[in-house]
């Protein structure tokens, strides 16, 4: 068993680490993983009271590389580097930040493309369907490993925010603050529909081979491309697309063919190609299911207030006005349920033009708010 490292430099250079777990974990679907690995990165230094740890949960296509760069690879910048780092809103000179690739992922943690030691072959289709609860449970084990009994905060945007919300329900004593950004208490029928289109694109790709494409030496690239295109469109706002692309032509004139005519088509194809290069289709399928299944109120007869009753954390909930995938109304449902439970909660609706993706972008009002909230957490942490 590898000794987990609990300190790291607050310089931008980071190194991924691996935590191996030999205690079986029972997943919500009933399957049991006998052993598994989680890849993670840390930034900053855990203080002697172990009270300044912040867990950052990733959304659909990101992973453990949250901030900074790897030595010798200056272009691979962490996906939330504008938010997390020395002197940034989540200041790694004060907080010990952890990024982790979730179970079922394709960036090093145990997932469909990992070798199943029982068969000696990649898990492929046999890898179980995971849920937000499973992810949170596995993250809690990583926290145990790192000696963190209670996080100062757990934070995330989108699917990452669902994890931070679930943390407050599953482990109410183990975090003081939850940052729930661009979130929804569950997916709407429209959200599920987009996910199903993405899945069908992958599953019906002849190269999918029922999920066991690794042994055929192919990947369902075409399906994955379409899946990414559909997803990507839902992360942007109509206005943002109009601003960025409008009806601009790729070659300055129409060619009356099925080649790329408009800039938006070129952009989508480029994004899709890039994505299909590095992302695993089986992971994509599972992550869309993670989203679909997330519904903490489900087991409480649809009552979110009841579902959040165990929570003890204080919350910062943030939504973005042009986010039509997880609209501000959905965040307000969370806020109402928190108010019903008399939790400490601050809710801000950022007027940003960028749609769902706004949570990843550098918006001054948004970042100042997060910075102010972490300042508050730092003061509390210092007073304990």
């Amino acid at each position: 068993m590898e000794e987990a490292r609990t300190t790291g430099p607050s310089t931008p250079f980071v190194t991924p680490q691996v935590a191996r777990f030999n205690e079986p974990i029972t997943l919500k679907c009933g399957a049991v993983l006998g052993q598994y690995e989680l890849v993670y990165e840390t930034y900053g230094t855990l203080n002697s009271e172990r009270s300044n740890a912040v867990l950052v949960c990733h959304a659909l296509n990101a992973a453990h590389h949250v901030a900074g760069v790897y030595a010798g690879d200056p272009d691979n910048v962490g996906w939330w580097d504008n938010m997390i780092g020395p002197g940034k809103p989540v200041d790694t000179d004060r907080f010990f930040v952890i990024g982790v690739n979730n179970l079922g992922g394709c960036h090093g943690s145990t997932g469909p493309k990992s070798i199943n030691i029982a068969t000696g072959r990649p898990w492929g289709a046999q890898f179980p369907v995971v849920t937000v609860e499973d992810w949170v449970n596995s993250q809690a084990r990583l926290a145990d490993r790192l000696g963190i009994r209670q996080f100062a905060a757990v934070m995330g945007g989108s699917l990452g925010a669902m994890q931070s919300l679930q943390w407050t329900i599953s482990y109410p004593e183990r975090l003081r603050h939850a940052l729930v950004i661009a979130c929804a208490p569950n997916l709407s029928a429209q959200n599920i529909a987009f996910n199903e289109i993405a899945r069908q694109a992958i599953i019906t790709d002849p190269d999918f081979h029922d999920g066991n494409y690794y042994e055929h030496g192919v990947t369902p690239r075409r399906g994955l491309r379409v899946a990414r295109m559909v997803g990507h469109v839902t992360y942007l706002s109509d206005d943002e697309m109009a601003d960025k692309f409008g009806r601009q032509l790729k070659h300055g004139r129409l060619s009356y063919s099925f080649d790329v005519e408009f800039q938006i088509e070129s952009y989508l194809r480029y994004q899709a190609d890039k994505f299909a290069e590095y992302f695993d289709a089986n992971t994509y399928l599972r992550i869309t299911k993670v989203l679909d299944y997330f519904d903490p109120a489900f087991e409480c007869g649809g009552n979110l207030t009841l579902a959040l009753a165990p929570a003890k954390a204080s919350y910062l909930v943030i939504s973005f006005t042009t986010d039509w995938r997880f609209s501000p109304e959905r965040s307000r449902e969370i806020v109402t349920a928190l108010l019903d439970n008399r939790r400490d909660v601050t809710y801000a609706e950022i007027d940003a033009p960028h749609g769902h993706d706004a949570f990843l972008l550098d918006d001054e009002r948004y970042h100042r708010l997060v910075a102010a909230y972490f300042e508050r957490i730092a003061q509390e942490t210092a007073h304990e």
Binding site: T336, L339, E349, R365
Partner: protein
């Protein structure tokens, strides 16, 4: 929506006198959270504010106050019936487009309401008006062309409003320069503070 300048903080003390310790308070248009922090210190309340302005939301976070960003003109639909002990509207009533609806909403969400507003019937206002000008004062620091105040009223107006709608006035405090006014309040008082219930 508290006025950044010219605010008369004397209403805070009156409000704190009425609010019982440990109760749940919702402050509509909470500004930078000063009143909620004051009530937290004085009365150990559990407080939340509603505020529309980004900069004031940020100030609330810096001041450690729970704040929900929202537009009071859209009502309080995120808040359940009787979910607060007190709903406060401090120096904001006169700037609301729909003053009647917000008072009704206060009594739906809260068991009791507390409202403060500049008394338009204050003698200094009457003098300025008699001289042919719209009043400008500490409590009404705006010129006619830049004022956010669209529904100014007098003490007599507000009490008639409550009477006609069956709103029970629990307590009233009228202030001028921080001192309590007991005679001719509608003439001598510049700021009115009301505690009411349904």
């Amino acid at each position: 929506m508290n006025n950044a300048t010219g605010i008369q903080r004397s209403d805070f003390a009156a409000i704190a006198e009425w609010v019982k310790p440990g109760k749940r308070v919702l402050d509509l248009g909470c500004g930078d959270g000063t009143l909620l922090n004051y009530l937290k210190q004085q009365r150990s309340i559990i407080g939340y504010g509603i505020e529309i302005d980004d900069a004031r939301i940020l100030a609330c976070v810096r001041n450690g106050v729970n704040v929900i960003q929202g537009d009071l003109e859209r009502g309080l639909s995120d808040f359940a019936d009787n979910s607060f002990d007190y709903v406060i509207l401090s120096q904001t009533l006169q700037a609301m487009k729909n003053s009647e609806r917000i008072i009704k909403e206060m009594l739906r969400v809260g068991l009791e309401g507390i409202v403060t507003f500049p008394n338009f019937g204050y003698w200094k206002n009457r003098v300025q008006f008699a001289r042919g000008h719209m009043p400008v004062s500490d409590n009404l620091p705006y010129q006619w062309f830049d004022t956010p105040n669209v529904h100014l009223c007098t003490i007599a107006d507000f009490e008639r409003f409550c009477r006609e709608r069956g709103i029970r006035i629990v307590e009233r405090k009228v202030l001028t320069n921080g001192a309590t006014v007991s005679v001719w309040p509608n003439f001598l008082g510049s700021l009115a503070v009301y505690h009411f219930g349904s």
